[in-house]
């Protein structure tokens, strides 16, 4: 992720970029200029979300990327920053285990209790992986 300010440009990784809810490393007088996502060969992506209505505020979401044996999942709305998971495989049990191992402690708000949001994160993770598998076929 490339950020430009008075002092010039700098590039940070996504891990470093997010600091908290609505907070990033982009400082005063700086702008995020671009986001580069490396194109992995033979990779397939999937995404699932639970929003209020078709396109409203998001309650939970998950993005998955399957590249060969490597499976990566990013969970949104469950912590102050996105949570990255690397399950052992793309089968449902592995995904469930990875979500469980993450010991999610999501925030509760008017749209979802912590329990419900944790449950939705698991559902979204499975759906995102399933979609990635489908698209990789």
């Amino acid at each position: 992720m490339t950020i430009r300010g008075e002092g010039g440009e700098r590039t940070v990784s996504a891990d470093e970029f997010f600091l908290g809810v609505y907070m990033t490393v982009v400082g005063e007088g700086e702008l995020l200029l671009s986001v580069s996502v490396p194109a992995a060969a033979n990779a397939a992506d999937g995404f699932a979300s639970i929003t209020i209505g078709r396109d409203g505020t998001c309650i939970a979401n998950a993005a998955a990327c399957i590249s060969g044996d490597s499976v990566r999942i990013a969970l949104g709305c469950v912590d102050a920053v996105p949570v990255l998971l690397a399950p052992d495989g793309s089968d449902a049990d592995s995904v469930r285990q990875a979500v469980e191992a993450a010991n999610l402690d999501p925030p509760a708000d008017v749209h979802a209790s912590a329990d419900y949001r944790r449950h939705l994160a698991g559902v979204c993770a499975l759906r995102a992986v399933a979609q990635a598998q489908e698209r990789g076929r």
């Binding site: 209505g53 078709r54 939705l120």
Partner: protein, 820 residues
């Protein structure tokens, strides 16, 4: 898709332009951005007002310091509660003692009682500056215990209004028919411990506001505003301001939606009146969206406790007994009228005769309520529909069967309800059949099985509602016999001007209902001309002198009261035009007809015809030849007054409203078993509002009311935390339906003319919250295979549906069936 058929035989009505969907007169300006909304009005030297609002739900005001705000360059002045308390009297309260001891002022005096309550106002040269200055006002608070739950408030352990000494605004028992007898006759009693109708509002897209000018020489205030019921607004404001009612001139042009939410603007407007007088300059206040959600107008929240329903084994419902607990928020502004308005539809669509309602209304530390589309009846109709579905579920009787067995029958119309209201006409069973046909009810079991293969639980629901229109304000005396309100009225003026222009002035205050168009249709048919020849003045102006005490646009009544007044005025003008033409053409009056923009001798020679212009010119400018005892004005003001008779304050009965439009909704939902996500996959709304003046406008109102109900049923909820902080104060968290959220809506219509109204029409537009009832019904049906939970709340966002899936038993524990 839409379908229309005619029900019972229509009354005698000459249909020319009435009944046609002619192009709306309002559209041309609105699609070009030329509408005139209050915030579009500018005055030289005007200041912008921003309110300082309470961050606390309940607190004593220790001190207010405006010095820093006043020191800011460009700030014109401030107003605080102390000044308000000196310069005004508290607003008139409608309840009985001690609820009527509540003191409600334009700004908080001594204490704040809800988050967002205005504490002070700042006026400055720009909007931005006013906002900056408001932040500089220092207010010291001493927080108090907070009441957010009516069930706690009713205990009076904490009291919000010391003057009243209780949180109860109004309380009373309504007992109609013979509840004990019904229990004895019943085979079973179905009980429901608790049901909850949630808090939401229609959130019109244009927020509230006004530009207020003060004329020092005459003490005249002019309010360019969006108040939807100025007559009643003035009744609140003038005594508080210690002025005469004619000193308040309300002007509205276009209004960006109202839905009842723009009825209780008087506290804000009084503040603006005081500021404009104090600063001697025009002042504008345009509410911010967050402020509207936080502090303007919510719908009534209501609990129903200890519901008992007397039923026979065949599903015949004999009556019910319930304790209703209404939460009106911090101040009872339009309240306690909500404690009686529901009684217009006491039995809902059903023929049960024995109904007992123990009704209590309390204040809580939440935003005050205001009428909201379907006001107070929607809550009660939701109860009757919940009862019907819960009884059906418990007795194992199909929801269609339950309704058809219990509906009031078309051959019983006009039907007198147990509390003396008269349902004028309708055919509920026929409407239900049409709705079921539109959603393909006969294929529902196959669709249910197919959905299951996709992990979805499919359900069908029905919502049967009535939209009662044209209030009898005498119902207020069933709450407080001392009140001096009864009946209803609306005014209109129709004139033929010097160059032959037909000018109509309404007393109503349209907010999108197309009054200019429908009024022109009625006038055109009566005067024999085209609607294009009829100019209807947009909006409302007190100085038009064309309004009556209850003027406004609210409570589903324009098609009766507004058009009744237009018809009366046009009839009078017509009679005079005929007399005049007969005199000029030297023919008997019976020989004169008004047609094609002429007054002419029927079947007479072409020259025996006077264009309207000639009539206008004779009376206004060329009248020397008219005989001395004939003084036509060609300018007629008519006040339409529906006849109700008096209500019985002992028995609490009477004709509470004039017309009853029917809405039968049916829908199909799919619930995702894994997540609780609920989607509407099929929807039909069938409406019967008697004679439709403009079917396209009627259908538009049906669409709008339906989507409000869909939003309320699935998303829209004003939720407070335990400290009284509103958690849904903007359109992110208070999700209203967007285009992608709305399913394809199918509509149907039948016309059962009202025998009681000038045009056979009925008020419509509010709907009765039919969508809320039918979605609750459909969710309950869908969840049947998952432990058969009982839907107990009117709002069912995903998390609540998921909870019901996780724990159906606790909702089932709410319901019991005992042998009688």
């Amino acid at each position: 898709m839409s379908t229309t058929e005619t029900g019972t035989a229509p009354v005698e009505l000459q249909k020319g332009h009435v009944g046609q969907s002619i192009p709306r007169k309002e559209d041309r300006r609105l699609v070009q951005g030329q509408g005139i909304f209050f915030d579009d009005v500018r005055r030289h030297g005007m200041g912008y007002v921003h309110f300082v609002r309470s961050p606390h739900a309940h607190a004593k005001i220790v001190s207010i310091d405006v010095a820093a705000a006043l020191a800011l360059d460009g700030v014109y002045g401030t107003l605080t509660g102390d000044e308000v308390a000196i310069q005004t009297d508290p607003f008139f309260e409608m309840s009985t003692a001690p609820g009527n001891e509540i003191k409600d002022y334009a700004l908080a005096v001594g204490k704040v009682r809800f988050m967002g309550e205005p504490v002070a106002a700042v006026c400055a040269a720009t909007r931005e500056l006013a906002r900056d200055a408001a932040e500089l006002v220092e207010v010291e608070y001493e927080p108090l215990d907070v009441l957010v739950d009516a069930r706690e408030a009713v205990k009076d352990e904490t009291v919000m209004h010391d003057d009243a000494g209780t949180n109860t605004v109004w309380s009373g028992v309504f007992d109609w028919g013979d509840w004990e007898g019904a229990k004895a006759e019943a085979h079973r009693i179905v009980t429901i411990e608790e049901l909850h109708f949630h808090r939401f509002s229609s959130t019109p897209l244009e927020c509230s506001g006004a530009l207020v000018e003060y004329e020092k020489a005459t003490g005249q205030w002019t309010l360019h505003c969006n108040h939807q019921m100025p007559g009643v607004g003035a009744i609140w404001m003038a005594p508080a301001l210690r002025t005469g009612i004619d000193k308040l001139r309300f002007i509205t042009k276009d209004i960006g939606g109202g839905f009842g939410n723009k009825i209780c603007l008087h506290p804000y407007y009084v503040t603006l009146c005081l500021l404009s007088r104090k600063l001697n300059r025009p002042v504008n206040w345009t509410e911010w969206r967050t402020d509207q959600h936080t502090a303007n107008a919510h719908g009534n929240e209501r609990w129903f406790h200890d519901v008992e329903v007397a039923v026979k084994d065949d599903g015949t419902m004999l009556g019910f007994n319930v304790k209703a607990l209404d939460d009106c928020g911090a101040f009872p502004r339009y309240e306690p009228l909500g404690c009686i308005i529901w009684a217009q539809v006491t039995p809902g669509c059903y023929a049960w005769r024995n109904i007992r309602v123990d009704f209590t209304q309390v204040t809580t530390n939440k935003a005050p309520v205001s009428p909201n589309r379907g006001y107070s009846r929607m809550q009660h109709l939701w109860l009757t529909e919940r009862i019907c579905d819960i009884v059906g579920t418990e007795l194992g009787i199909d929801p269609v069967e339950m309704r058809k067995r219990n509906y009031v029958k078309t051959e019983q119309m006009p039907y007198e309800t147990p509390n003396g209201c008269v349902y004028d006409s309708g055919d509920y069973a026929r409407c239900l059949d049409i709705a079921l046909e539109l959603i393909g009810y006969d294929t529902i079991e196959e669709r249910r099985a197919e959905a299951l293969t996709r992990g979805k639980l499919l359900g069908i629901g029905i919502g049967s509602t009535l939209d009662s229109g044209t209030n009898n304000f005498g119902q207020s005396t069933l709450l407080n016999p001392e009140l001096q309100f009864s009946g209803n009225n609306e005014a209109a003026t129709v004139k033929l001007d010097i160059f032959g222009e037909l000018v109509v002035t309404l007393g109503t205050v349209p907010q999108g209902q197309g009054h200019e168009t429908t009024a022109s249709q009625v006038v055109a048919d009566i005067l024999g001309c085209s609607p294009e020849q009829v100019h209807v003045r947009p909006g409302h102006d007190t100085f038009f002198n064309s309004h009556a005490g209850f003027s406004g646009t609210y409570a589903s009544q324009f098609a009766v009261t507004g058009l009744g007044a237009v018809k009366g005025a046009a009839d009078a003008l017509r009679a005079e035009m005929i007399t005049l033409a007969a005199a000029v053409l030297q023919a008997p009056e019976e020989a004169i007809e008004l047609a094609d923009g002429f007054a002419r001798i029927k079947d007479g020679p072409p020259e025996a015809a006077l264009p309207f212009m000639a009539l206008g010119a004779i009376v206004n400018a060329n009248n020397a030849f008219l005989p001395p005892d004939f003084n036509p004005t060609l300018n007629h003001r008519f006040v339409y007054r529906p006849y109700f008779g008096m209500v019985d304050t002992e028995k609490k009965t009477g004709k509470l409203t004039l017309t009853y439009a029917t809405q039968i909704h049916a829908c199909v939902v799919e619930v995702d078993r894994e997540t609780g996500v609920t989607e509407i996959v099929d929807y039909a709304a069938v409406d019967d509002c008697g004679v439709r003046i403009h079917p396209q406008i009627v259908e538009g109102q049906v669409h709008g009311a339906t989507v409000h109900a869909i939003g309320a049923a699935l998303y829209e909820d004003f939720v407070y935390d335990e400290d009284g902080q509103l958690l849904t104060s903007n359109f992110y968290d208070y999700h209203v339906p967007h285009a992608l959220d709305v399913p394809a809506l199918k509509t149907g219509a039948i016309e059962s003319p009202s025998p009681f109204t000038p045009l056979g029409s009925k008020g419509m537009g509010e709907g009765g919250g039919g969508g809320i009832h039918c979605i609750c019904s459909a969710i309950q049906d869908a969840l049947k295979p998952a432990g058969a939970p009982i839907v107990y709340d009117s709002c069912n966002p995903y998390h609540r549906v998921w909870s019901m899936l996780q724990d159906p038993e606790s909702t089932r524990a709410n319901v019991k069936v005992v042998p009688a």
